[in-house]
Amino acid sequence: MAATTYIEAIGRGMREEMERDSSVFLMGEDIGAYGGAFKATRGFLEKFGPARVIDTPLSETAILGAAVGAALVGMRPIVEMQFADFVSCGFNQLVTNAATMHYRWHLPVPMVVRLPSGGYIHGGPFHSVNPEGWFFHVPGLKIVAPSTTEDACGLMKGAVRDNNPVLYLESKYLYRRVKGDVSGEVVEIGKGMVRRPGDDMVIITYGSTVQQSLDAADRLAREEGVETRVVDLRTLKPLDTGLILDAVRATGRVLIVHEDNLTGGIGGEVAALIAEGAFTYLDAPVRRLAALDTPVPFSPPLEEFVLPSQDKIFHALQELRRY
């Protein structure tokens, strides 16, 4: 059987949840008849009908707000932002309504917001955003970021079943480049995973930079005989603090990698958690590798300069090892 691509795995997650639970439905721009800008929902309209696959007007505020309303009264909407960059148009609905309603009203808001995110696709500043930093610190929102086909499907199911608003970050770059098996199992939100064992150093990362980190770690092992553990966070909010601190205690040298911009990125929070929770286990300062603090530029050499890469990770690992 042909291996499933990452984007197909997302689709499988949605489809199986919709089959399982009739309260799950989809909303978004161009998702029905067109099958979605990236074809993530191709075939869904035919399979589930227009009542459950709704093409909306071009209105992120209305889409997100309507998702809140529908979720408030017991439905489980999955809405698509055509590009993560556009979620800022509906920002208020997420941070004012979706995030606060359970805290204020003890009412669950079980909605999923799909966010095609990230660069490496020559999309320029408005088609390459990683939005997690905007929402990470808002209490009441959960954020997941799958890096494998298994997790793309599993975390979608986990997100749909969660009774809270979940932002689901899909790396556009990985859509058709990552292929693999999909078991269809639900992946629990809030649990990271060790993708590569190692006790000399650790990379903590998620999303598009997981594979880059694995490659850099393998290269370092081959060239310098050093074994780097790679931790894939999978869920950004809530963070799997236990897994992070275990890895730090085992290794003492930490490199945090993410595609999102450095300043105000999640790496800072992870570094602070490590300083608080594992200070005496540190044999080197905690290091971060992330995109430069710029919008993501359009022309390929510019984009390359800004974004992380396997090579940059490798050199950061070497530096860390030498400390």
Binding site: R222, E223, E224, G225, G252, T280, L282, D283, A284, Y323
Partner: protein
């Protein structure tokens, strides 16, 4: 019948392990007490190990070429008759806490605490405060939280930490370095008498002039980077590794400054020339310049005792005795046998002591006692033809004298005439934590004067 353990002895302070070179007996053989049982190698000396008891070799616990920590049981002897020493064989003196042999000369300040353990602080005390400031401008090193945590858990004091060579950035002690040190430090003091006989078999092939620098080793990762035949990848022998560590440690610990003085050895040469034959006839060995130099150094130290001390944190431990180390190059690397209480010896006494050490060094019969407890070291690189050298201080001492080759040279005399003299350059490398240029220069000049104004009427 009793069982007696044969253990890996500690061949000097800071020695933590030894390598079995060759078993001279096999299981089942009879051995007599003091009969040579095996040969070992450590970073300071290769030695033959005599059997601690008479009996039958019951078992060999450690095979040849294996390296084990000091105090490891390497063989068991079954003795005849009753009353064999049941536990550790050998006449070990009252065990010290750590690596210093109890045989260190009588008046060791602070009793049995060797240099590595001296000043062990209660765990964590001053660890933070001491980190940046300890040891002065180049001595203070940064210790990461993890390293301090492990140090605390393993009872490694701050001054001890400072002795550990670091492989991290800027010589930083990393977790790996510290754990390796802790492993090596599993030792109480040795004190087992050993005797050394004959050259070590299996001298390492190739690798150039430095004795035992390295043997070819299989290292695929490095091989890839450094392919044959353009490159050779060699394994550093334990001796070389220890030398490397000691040298790095010394340079990191002491800010080295060197002063070079020219010394006119003519008076000494003359005196020696006049007395050499008679001396050799009487004593049975040759009188060397080393003895004269040793005498001059001892005299100078009495005037400037600060150069005969060591440093612990903010304290200077000044010794009121002089254990003079004389560095010697041997097949197994650099060795520094020590003349104990040189301050009590006359020129003849020094000559005898120098000779005794030389003989036993050549015969590989040095005891751990012979190579521990030095307070000042003289190294003679002149024998290689070196005119001026800058030696590295032998920790935990604070100064070392290097003597260059004596050559006949035209010099300008007092009355502006040209004369031919025997000239040498002496270098004093000293620790600028406590010895400044003034003191260094004055001390060195004192040595020079002691030699230049050697009393030709000195009786031997």
């Amino acid at each position: 019948m009793a069982r007696v353990d044969v253990i890996m002895p500690q061949m000097g302070e800071s020695i933590a392990e030894g390598t079995i070179l060759r078993w001279l007996k096999k299981v089942g053989d009879r051995v007599a007490k003091d009969e040579t049982l095996l040969e070992i190698s450590t970073d300071k000396v290769d030695s033959e190990i005599p059997s601690p008891a008479s009996g039958v070799l019951l078992s060999i616990e450690v095979p040849e070429q294996k390296t084990v920590p000091v105090q490891t049981v390497i063989a068991i002897i079954e003795t005849e008759g009753a009353g064999g020493v049941a536990a550790r064989g050998g006449e070990s003196a009252a065990p010290d806490v750590t690596g210093v042999s109890a045989g260190v000369g009588g008046g060791v300040a602070g009793g049995g605490r060797g240099v590595l353990e001296a000043g062990v602080e209660p765990a964590g005390a001053g660890a933070g405060a001491g980190v940046l400031g300890a040891g002065g401008p180049s001595g203070g090193r940064f210790y990461s939280p993890l390293v301090l945590t492990i140090a605390k858990e393993e009872g490694v004091g701050l001054s001890e930490l400072e002795q550990i060579p670091g492989s991290g950035e800027g010589g930083r002690v990393t977790k790996k370095d510290l754990l390796a040190y802790v492993e090596r430090r599993r030792a109480a003091s040795g004190g087992v008498k050993v005797s050394v006989a004959g050259p070590s078999p299996g001298a390492r092939p190739g690798a150039g002039a430095v004795a035992g620098a390295g043997t070819p080793v299989d290292d695929p990762a490095l091989r890839k980077k450094y392919p044959s035949p353009a490159y050779e990848v060699l394994q550093m022998s334990p001796v070389v590794q220890r030398m490397a560590q000691h040298m790095v440690l010394s340079v990191q610990t002491s800010p080295h400054v060197a002063a070079v003085h020219e010394v006119d050895m003519t008076a000494v040469v003359k005196h020696r020339g006049e007395h050499a034959a008679e001396f050799e006839r009487r004593e049975g060995f040759k009188l060397t310049y080393t003895s004269y130099i040793a005498g001059a150094v001892v005299k100078a130290i009495k005037k400037y005792p600060l150069v005969n001390s060591s440093v612990e944190g903010e304290r200077i431990i000044q010794k009121n005795f002089i254990n003079l180390g004389l560095a010697v190059a041997s097949e197994s690397g650099l060795i520094v046998p020590v003349i104990k209480h040189a301050e009590e010896k006359s020129l003849v006494g020094l000559a005898r002591a120098v000779n005794d050490l030389a003989v036993r060094t050549r015969a590989r019969k040095l005891t751990p006692d012979d190579i521990q407890g030095g307070t000042f070291t003289i190294t003679n690189f002149g024998v290689f033809g070196t005119m001026i050298g800058v030696p590295i201080i032998n920790q935990p001492q604070v100064a070392i004298l290097g003597t260059g080759a004596i050559t006949r040279r035209p010099v300008v005399t007092e009355d502006d005439a040209i004369a031919i003299r025997s000239i040498a350059y002496f270098t004093l490398s000293f620790d600028h934590r406590i010895i400044d240029g003034a003191l260094g220069g004055m001390f060195l000049e004192e040595i020079v004067q002691n030699l230049e104004r050697f009393d030709s009427g000195t009786k031997l």
